[in-house]
C-alpha cells in the first residue's frame, strides 16, 4: 500500500512519520507528474489553505487532483486539508475540491492564542488527543455526512463516502489511531 501526501506547504512530513509508524509507505506530491504515481490513498495536510490552494492552481495540479478525488480515491484532510475538501467555506464565494458536504469556518477559534489541546471522543475509536492550531470547525453538515467528533458543541471530524476530515492534527500527536482508522475503513 502507498499513500500520497500533498507536500506543497505545511505539516506533510508529520503525516509521513505517522504512516511510517504503521509500516505504511508514503510519497510526497509536489508537482503534477507526482500525481501519476500509483496510490491507494491521499492525505491533504495542515498548513495555510490559501497558500496550498494557490499552489495547486499555479502548478497546474488542481483539476487532475479534483478528478482523482471525484473518482473515489480515499482522501484524508486535516485542518487546511479539511478546508480544501469542504463544499462551502464561510466568507468565501468559491470552494476548492468540494468533495464533502460541509460548511467550514476558517480560523474559527481566533488567532494563535486560541489554539488548544484537548482529549475528546472520536466515534468508534474512543478518547484521543486532539491538537487544534488556528483551526477551522464545521458549521453545518449535509444529511449524508457522518459526524465523528464534537468538541464544545462544534463539529470537528466527519466523513462522507471516500472523504475523511478533521479540524485538528492527529499527525502532531503520538497517537496513530486516526491514520489507522483511515487506512482500515477507507482503503482496505
Amino acid at each position: 500500500m502507498r499513500i500520497g501526501i500533498l507536500a506543497l506547504q505545511g505539516g506533510f512530513a508529520e503525516h509521513a512519520q505517522i504512516l511510517q509508524s504503521l509500516n505504511i509507505q508514503s510519497f510526497e506530491i509536489r508537482k503534477k507528474e507526482d500525481l501519476s504515481q500509483p496510490m491507494n490513498g491521499l492525505i491533504l495536510p495542515g498548513g495555510e489553505s490559501t497558500t496550498i490552494g494557490k499552489l495547486l492552481k499555479d502548478l497546474d495540479m488542481f483539476d487532475e487532483l479534483k478528478s482523482i478525488i471525484e473518482k473515489g480515491m480515499p482522501v484524508f484532510g486535516t485542518c487546511a486539508g479539511m478546508i480544501l475538501l469542504a463544499k462551502e467555506i464561510d466568507g468565501k464565494s468559491v470552494a476548492h475540491f468540494s468533495a464533502i458536504d460541509i460548511r467550514v469556518k476558517r480560523n474559527a477559534y481566533g488567532r494563535q492564542l486560541g489554539s488548544f489541546f484537548v482529549e475528546a471522543e472520536f466515534k468508534g475509536i474512543g478518547t484521543i488527543p486532539m491538537t487544534f492550531i488556528r483551526a477551522p470547525y464545521i458549521e453545518s453538515a449535509g444529511a449524508n455526512v457522518e459526524i465523528l467528533s464534537v468538541v464544545d458543541n462544534n463539529i470537528v471530524a466527519a466523513k462522507e463516502n471516500n472523504v475523511l476530515v478533521t479540524s485538528y492534527h492527529p499527525e502532531l500527536t503520538h497517537d496513530n489511531s486516526i491514520h489507522k482508522y483511515f487506512v482500515d475503513t477507507f482503503i482496505k
Binding site: 505545511g10 509536489r30 495542515g46 490559501t50 497558500t51 499552489l55 481566533g110 494563535q112 491538537t131
Partner: protein
C-alpha cells in the same frame, strides 16, 4: 508558560514549514503577499533595506498599522520586538499577534538579556547564526528559529554561512560520544538537555527557517537545499521591480526547491531584483546583535 502552550506554539511553526513569510508594511502589501501565496506575513513599519537607508533607532511598529494588517489577511501575522524589550513583546501579545520576532533588525533594547519568552503565551521566533545561539534562544522560550543572515542587503552570503554553520555543528554533535556531550554543552554555553536532543535527533527541537538576504527564487531554493524548513523574505519582494511576480515565484521555488527545471521556469522575466549591498560594503552588521 505551560508545557502544553509551548507545544502548541512549536506546532504552529510546523504548519508554516515549506512556506514563505513576507515582510509587509501596509495592509495593501499584506493583501498582495497573501494573494501571492505567503504562509504568513511580518508586519513592520520599515523593511530592513529602508531601516539601513534611514538609520536611527528602529522600534516596534505602530499597533494601529499592525491591527490594520491583522484585519486584512487571514494568514498568521507576525511582528517584531526589539531584543530584550519585553514591554514591546507584552504589547504585541495584547494585540494577539500570532508570532513575535525578537529581532536584531530593530535596534536592541538590551545588550545583555533577551526577553524571557517563557513568560508569554504567544510564540516567539528568534534569529541565530550558530547552534549555540539557537539553543540559547530555545532555552529562553523561542519556539521557532531562523538564521539571522544579513537583513536588508539582498546578499545571501550570510544566511548561507549561518545555515551551514548550524547544520555542520548539528552533525558534529550527532557524532559525539554521549559522555562528550557534557563538555560540548559547556563549550557552546547551552543547556545539556537541549544538546542531548540535538545529539539524538540530528536537528533542532524547533522548526528552523532561513532569513536575511534572500532576494531571488534561486536564493530561496538554495536555503531550502541547505536545510532550511522555510524562508523569510524581507526587503527582497517589495524592493524589487515586480513584487507580485517575484513573490509568487519565491513561493513556488520553496515548494519545488529540488527541481531545477521548475525554478528555471519561474525565474524567467521577474524584472529587476532589489539592488542590494555586498557584504564588504555594509556599515552595520545586524547579525552581531544579540548572541
Amino acid at each position: 508558560m505551560k508545557k502544553e502552550r509551548y507545544e502548541l506554539n512549536k506546532n504552529l511553526a510546523q504548519m508554516l514549514k515549506g512556506g514563505v513569510i513576507m515582510d509587509v508594511s501596509t495592509p495593501e502589501q499584506a493583501r498582495i503577499a497573501e494573494a501571492a501565496g505567503a504562509a504568513a506575513v511580518m508586519a513592520l513599519e520599515r523593511i530592513p533595506a529602508d531601516i539601513r537607508a534611514v538609520g536611527g533607532v528602529s522600534r516596534m511598529s505602530d499597533p494601529k498599522m499592525i491591527k490594520g494588517i491583522q484585519e486584512t489577511v487571514s494568514i498568521p501575522v507576525m511582528a517584531k520586538a526589539r531584543i530584550g524589550h519585553f514591554v514591546e513583546a507584552q504589547i504585541l501579545e495584547a494585540l494577539e499577534i500570532d508570532y513575535i520576532d525578537e529581532s536584531e533588525v530593530l535596534s536592541p533594547a538590551d545588550d545583555k538579556y533577551h526577553v524571557d519568552k517563557t513568560k508569554f503565551k504567544v510564540p516567539f521566533v528568534c534569529g541565530a547564526k550558530d547552534l549555540g545561539e539557537a539553543l540559547r534562544r530555545i532555552s529562553e522560550g523561542a519556539s521557532m528559529i531562523r538564521t539571522k543572515g544579513e537583513p536588508g542587503t539582498g546578499d545571501v552570503i550570510q544566511a548561507v554561512r549561518h545555515m551551514r554553520t548550524m547544520t555542520s555543528e548539528i552533525r558534529r554533535i550527532q557524532n559525539l560520544r554521549e559522555d562528550e556531550l557534557f563538555n560540548a554543552a559547556k563549550e557552546l554555553q547551552v543547556p545539556f538537555d537541549l544538546l542531548k536532543y540535538v545529539h539524538e535527533n540530528g536537528k533542532l527541537p524547533v522548526v528552523n527557517f532561513a532569513a536575511g538576504g534572500v532576494a531571488t527564487p534561486a536564493d530561496a531554493a538554495l536555503m531550502m537545499q541547505l536545510g532550511a524548513e522555510g524562508v523569510f523574505v524581507g526587503s527582497g519582494i517589495f524592493k524589487s521591480g515586480d513584487p507580485v511576480k517575484r513573490a509568487q515565484a519565491i513561493v513556488k521555488a520553496v515548494t519545488n526547491y529540488n527541481d531545477p527545471k521548475i525554478i528555471a521556469e519561474i525565474s524567467a522575466d521577474l524584472g529587476e531584483a532589489m539592488v542590494g549591498i555586498n557584504e564588504s560594503e555594509i556599515q552595520l552588521l545586524m547579525s552581531e546583535r544579540g548572541k
